[in-house]
Symmetry: C2
């Protein structure tokens, strides 16, 4: 586990106006880290702008401060530096990528393995379970007061990116930071309730249908589930509602590889793959289809295809793997 | 949060042969605490007997040391003391209750609110999220080495009794102990995998059917799900497989009260109730049907009834509550 680089601490101490970015389609770690960092900069008496080009997903809109995210970038000459949080690839910075990459110094703080190391100053630590964990240590290094809202956002970031301390990325350091945030007043059951007890009736209906689509192959070592455009129509559920559905086939004790096929309205098949342990590297399999990811979690997209044909092609690869 | 009472530490230091008990139908905290305590006593060079009158449920039989649990009590005169872990009521000690209660000193270590305080020496701390958390502090107070197996069992106890750090009982102290156990080599993803990714295909099929039974009442504030004897027959799933199914209707954001109706082979309807927050005290409602429990989690049984009639009677009570 690395410590906060002193040059980043120094740079932030001297900066008076900071642009804070994260990746597009931000998840709990991205948003939690970004909003907490805004609180931390505010406690230090600094000016800042939190950039977000999309409306926050309903799954995360309970995070305090969502409303301060802005899509209209101010004049970039105003900023002393840029901080990109939880973004391992500059192409995930969104539509303003070219403009923001031109600002110097460009500071990157991230925990993704395989980070592309863009920008001028990097703190990349793939041993960290979340960027939120790193932002906490940065706040301590900066001597900033951590408000309740900042603690709440950072705790949410950690819980969100570790599946509530279940993923293999969870370390003793993760528990240290979580404990310190709880000591600052965050209530674990409140965050868990907001993150996990947020099902709509439409979403539960969709889950029911998706579970009905379960197919097992290779003596139940491979499990497929799928969602069709028709299921979205029938239930009124949205793409965002399918989050975490892949965990159901994955939770079968016999299963090594779980796959979720999603049909979008624009005729693209999105495929999410999960594997357990070291037997099957799904990143390698996804790469064969033009996608990518990690050893145990990867994905790819197939435009203009049908679910049935993607299933057949993928199953062939999985069975010969 | 209380510290380990010094008289208990003193007594255990001086004892050379110790009988270790927990409650009947032991869950992860009960078994994890008991097995870890055996490891701790072993590290201190003490003799001990871990009493367990039933076969361990398949959900917990991954715990190292399950095989040393014994149902045949040795001569009780051999023991210097008894330690009862995670047992808030002497009636939950099982068939040998009368005999074991006669041994002195009888030391009780537990975290249940409303503990009945039987025995001679008590360490009861309802602010602790699990008995496992207390056994860890006891091991430290005893100066015992904590083996990997002990750490694994204690971590499982904690995760099991907090729903992976989601329940309101989770404190900064819970995270402190979890972090120290992980620093001793326990892998969070391994324990989570064993505890939560243990679905059989039959169980997933049953879940699908149970989700199909969802009924919403009172503007989706009340959710009912049910499992019939026929569903068990059709899927080959067992009563134990329905564990945690109540969390699905509970996870609906609109829902205040979730109810799970289970039809057993012997024609008994078991009803589990869950509520959120302080609006509805389900213990009170369950008491009206001869059952009991806590404010947010309670239940009752109805022999010789049909699910449909229990639903109608309960709904009436819930709507006038």
């Amino acid at each position: 586990m690395s410590e906060v680089p002193s040059q980043i601490v120094q740079k932030l101490r001297n900066a008076s106006n900071i642009l804070v970015l994260t990746h597009v389609y931000p998840d709990g770690d991205a948003l939690g880290s970004q909003l907490a960092f805004g609180e931390i900069l505010s406690a230090l008496g600094k000016k800042f702008f939190l950039f977000g080009e999309e409306k926050v997903s309903y799954i995360y809109d309970f995070l305090p401060g969502c409303e301060v995210l802005g899509a209209d970038l101010p004049d970039l000459a105003e900023f002393d530096c840029v901080v990109a949080l939880d973004c391992g690839d500059c192409h995930r910075l969104g539509r303003k990528m070219a403009e923001v990459l031109a600002v110097t110094p460009f500071i990157m703080i991230d925990h993704h393995a395989g980070n592309k190391l863009f920008g001028d100053m990097h703190w990349v630590d793939s041993k960290r379970a979340s960027t939120g964990e790193m932002v906490y240590d940065l706040a301590i290094a900066l001597g900033a007061e951590i408000s309740y809202a900042a603690a709440f956002c950072l705790y949410t970031a950690i819980v969100s990116d570790t599946g509530s301390f279940k993923y293999s990325s969870t370390t003793a350091g993760t528990f240290r930071v979580a404990g310190e945030l709880v000591a600052r007043g965050v209530m674990p059951s409140e965050v868990a309730g907001k993150l996990f007890d947020n099902f709509t009736v439409n979403r539960l209906r969709l889950l029911r249908m998706v579970l009905d689509s379960l197919e097992l192959h290779d003596k139940a070592r491979i499990a497929f589930i799928s969602v069709t455009a028709e299921m979205f129509n029938e239930t009124g559920a949205t793409q965002a509602d399918t989050e975490s559905f892949i965990n159901y086939p994955r939770s079968l004790s016999s299963v090594n590889v779980a796959v979720f096929f999603k049909e979008s309205a624009n005729n693209i098949i999105s495929v999410s793959l999960r594997s357990k342990g070291t037997e099957c590297d799904v990143a390698e399999i996804a790469a064969g289809f033009g996608g990518g990811g990690h050893r145990n979690a990867a994905g790819f997209k197939m435009p203009g295809a049908k679910i049935a044909e993607v299933k057949t092609r993928l199953l062939k690869v999985l069975l010969t793997d």
